[in-house]
């Protein structure tokens, strides 16, 4: 094995690192912002409200991310109306399509994670809030959501890692993320071990840092559940 090739081309890996981090953080943040209100609506008893959200999460959780990305990147060009509209400059860009697909995907998973946490709220807490005369809005913002976020944190941590790994698919539609960098090095020098092991080491490092950060966050947020 000859890792000097990697050392000479380390710049492209750092470019890839930048793109991976941007793709992951942007899609996770936008996904989370939309997921919270949608998760609240998803718990509604009115099927006209919860039904469409349910269909959305079912579709995006039941199909591969790769296919979703292809649907957006290759699929949108099939429609003349989109090609003629102001949206086309966006959907023509691989970067935007990857971001769009990742956001839709993580949003769907996050909705279900938060919904599960909301539905697991101890009944007594809601009852107490009602007895104290809180409105539905107050109940959600003061009682249900804060405790639901805490319960959702460990699962959401898994979703973050999942998204980091999922982002490697961006390399399939020409984006130079960490995997994309490795594929370029592999095709240029035909050094699969060096190229992909380096990429793996990058991902492993990010994963370890994320797991460590999440543990710290859990330690703080779930302090009341800590065993002495």
């Amino acid at each position: 094995m000859n890792f000097s090739i990697i050392a000479d081309n380390i710049g492209i890996y750092f470019l890839g690192l930048k793109n991976t981090l941007i793709l992951v953080s942007v899609s996770l943040s936008i996904g989370l912002v939309f997921a919270v209100p949608l998760a609240v609506l998803r718990t509604s008893k009115n099927i006209l409200i919860s039904g469409p959200i349910n269909a959305y999460t079912y579709f995006f959780r039941g199909t591969p991310l790769l296919v979703q990305m292809f649907l957006i990147y290759y699929g949108m060009g099939q429609f003349e109306t989109i090609k003629a509209s102001f949206l086309w400059p966006f959907f023509r860009e691989a970067y935007f399509c990857a971001l769009f697909a990742f956001t839709l995907n993580t949003c769907a998973y996050t909705i279900e994670i938060i919904r599960g946490a909301i539905e697991n709220t101890p009944h007594g807490e809601v009852e107490a809030a009602k007895a104290a005369g809180m409105s539905l809005y107050l109940r959600f913002t003061r009682i249900i959501l804060p405790s639901a976020f805490r319960r959702a944190l460990p699962t959401y941590g898994n979703e973050i890692i999942f998204m980091l790994h999922g982002s490697s698919l961006a390399s399939v539609i020409t984006i130079i993320d960490i995997t994309g960098a490795a594929r370029i090095i592999n095709s240029r020098y035909y050094t699969p071990y060096e190229a992909f092991i380096t990429a793996g080491a990058f991902y492993l490092t990010i994963t370890f840092i994320l797991v460590w950060l999440l543990k710290k966050l859990e330690y703080r947020w779930l302090a009341h559940l800590r065993r002495e």
Partner: protein, 231 residues
């Protein structure tokens, strides 16, 4: 409503390959998972360490990177080892084998975690009782541990299976003619990418829905006689 312009049969062929791929990699991952779970729980330090390294590394690296590493790397490896063994022709890796072994290898790590948890969930007294009856370690494993751990393993196993099925879409990248690849070919020829990828997405949706139904039934079956808390 949907006109597939004669590409329906080829998509179905791809579907068949996807299903074969899923089942074959599931079998490999279960065998690897059980072995790794037992290694993790064993008192042999070396086995412990190897199993731990395996699950940590695999779960920390994206499936795609592992697949590319094993596919391209395996190709180089075999062609380096081949001549040493006196085989001179260029050896092409069969993409199906590459796909199956990679996915099986990856999900072996996830299965190991599920199985480890399930084994730990079986009360130790059960095994002790087995030994007290004079059963060998193997008999205890087959007669006492396995039947009881299945119930604890089913939820995690089901999740792994659903993720595994979706991961098989990645084999289209290494040139395997699964349904995603077939849809890509059809899309290129007909210029209807949205239609074909949507069809593939719907087939995946059907496969996951059927799986969920079966898993729910299995769960019910293996939980017979277990009292659940009233909610």
């Amino acid at each position: 409503m949907l006109s597939l312009q004669g590409y329906g049969p080829s998509i179905l062929q791809g579907t068949l390959l996807t299903i074969e791929l899923c089942l074959a990699s599931l079998a490999i991952s279960m065998v690897l998972g059980i072995i790794t779970a037992l290694a993790k729980l064993s008192r042999v330090r070396a086995a412990n360490l190897i199993a731990h390294a395996y699950t940590t590394i695999i779960r920390g690296i994206p499936d795609l990177v592992l697949m590319l590493l094993l596919f391209y790397g395996g190709q180089v490896f075999i062609n380096q080892v081949g001549p040493m063994l006196g085989y001179d022709a260029y050896i092409d890796i069969n993409p199906f084998m590459a796909g199956v072994s990679t996915i099986g290898f990856i999900f072996g790590a996830y299965m190991a975690e599920t199985f480890r948890g399930a084994i730990l969930a079986v009360p130790g007294g059960q095994m002790e009782a087995g030994y007290a009856y004079g059963m060998t370690r193997f008999q205890v494993f087959i007669r006492i541990l396995m039947p009881q751990m299945v119930r604890h393993a089913i939820p995690g196993f089901g999740n792994n299976w659903l993720v595994l099925m979706k991961t098989t879409a990645l084999v289209s990248i290494i040139g395997l003619k699964d349904m995603v690849r077939m849809a890509g070919l059809a899309a290129g020829a007909t210029r209807m990418p949205f239609t074909f990828y949507l069809v593939v997405a719907l087939i995946y949706l059907i496969l996951t829905s059927i799986s969920i139904l079966i898993l729910n039934r299995l769960n019910k079956r293996y939980s017979v006689g277990i009292l659940k808390g009233e909610s």
